[in-house]
Symmetry: C2
Subunit: 253 residues, 2 copies
Amino acid sequence: MRILLCNDDGIDAPGLEALAREIKKIGDVTIVAPEHEQSAKGHAITISDPLRAKEFYKDLEFFGWAISGTPADCVKIAISAIMEEKPDLIISGINQGSNTGINIIYSGTVSAATEGRINNVPSFAVSLTSYNYKDFGPAARFAARFAKKYLSLNVPEAVFLNVNVPALSEGEIKGVKVTRQGKANYEEIFHRRFDPRGRAYFWMDGERVAEEDDPNIDEQAVRAGYISITPIHYDLTHYPTLEEFIRHPEDLI
Amino acid sequence: MRILLCNDDGIDAPGLEALAREIKKIGDVTIVAPEHEQSAKGHAITISDPLRAKEFYKDLEFFGWAISGTPADCVKIAISAIMEEKPDLIISGINQGSNTGINIIYSGTVSAATEGRINNVPSFAVSLTSYNYKDFGPAARFAARFAKKYLSLNVPEAVFLNVNVPALSEGEIKGVKVTRQGKANYEEIFHRRFDPRGRAYFWMDGERVAEEDDPNIDEQAVRAGYISITPIHYDLTHYPTLEEFIRHPEDLI
């Protein structure tokens, strides 16, 4: 099995290395990841600048390709210019920090999996739901186990998976839960400061708004100690509204 | 009506100016747009750098705020730090170039409308479906007419609209069509070149893959001369797969 790994924390991130170690046990791994951290880059792609692809070494051994672009760029260039054959599977991660609720639309980690699916490659994103916890082992081992099953799962065309693993040891993880994307959001605050030349600038900050109280959403599942798996897709059409508009076209014009 | 305008082509783009002229006739307009072009920035936000907000003048008159960030940043900072009251409506555009099919997930124009809707503000994106055609008048006048109706349209919470206007004169536009997001995509090619120091770099290029032959998709509607309106949302959950997984949890573990 040819497996492409990508992430948004950058090619030197420990989450990617932990993932690579486990995935190398089950397949032929190619790593193509951003040279620099690309968190919150959403589904950005680089169209007005050229891209560079540099060989990246770890412990004096070739580890993968470091791309001067976004996670979506990495998947595009991997498939179109780096890999000789299309991968059988793309795994994006392991992200340091959860990708749940509305956050997934900002997520570079998820966007690499989206880009894989757009290119007709089965894909999933994996995130570890803590910004501090450094044991990527349980998430990496789950990703490897899940990768072996993934191709037999019958995930429909244009659908891919968003996996969040709680920051717990394997013994503490309660199991797997299939979830929907929650509506959790951040209430933004902009801190206004002044630079040494007296000019204002803003820092974005935010507080997570209270969650829906539903055990079947991504964020609640990981808080309860489960690995959350959310099937997602990139057809943004809201069909109920589409049908409503078609029934009442006079409202629109 | 307080209306916030944003775009992704940058605050000095003619599409934004054409839109502003028409919208000022029907409401109280605030313009908060990126200082520099942000095409294809998807739903990127700026979390690791501070943001600047500069006053931007046109013809020696204050035009709006130029933000050193992405379209989504602009909407966040407009609502949280610039506007005294939340806007009643957000319009993003007029983009130079269509936002149809899979392209909408890369679109900064659409992401500003997404961000508006996340902040509970009715929002729509408007694009002119040509990279060359410079008459934004028909699209701007349609946006103004549509803005007046929008609040009475009963668009559900978390749903917003993606509008594409064909590059035609008003007399040539055939009407309005409600559409779904197509699956049109680009087949990428990376051109490999060498810089003056002999190092390789890549330019992304692509060809649009043949469209589905369905008059009810966004791209086909504009090609046929209609204004396309697609209701979209940001819940990426694919519910049929979710239900299938819930019926067969043993497959996942």
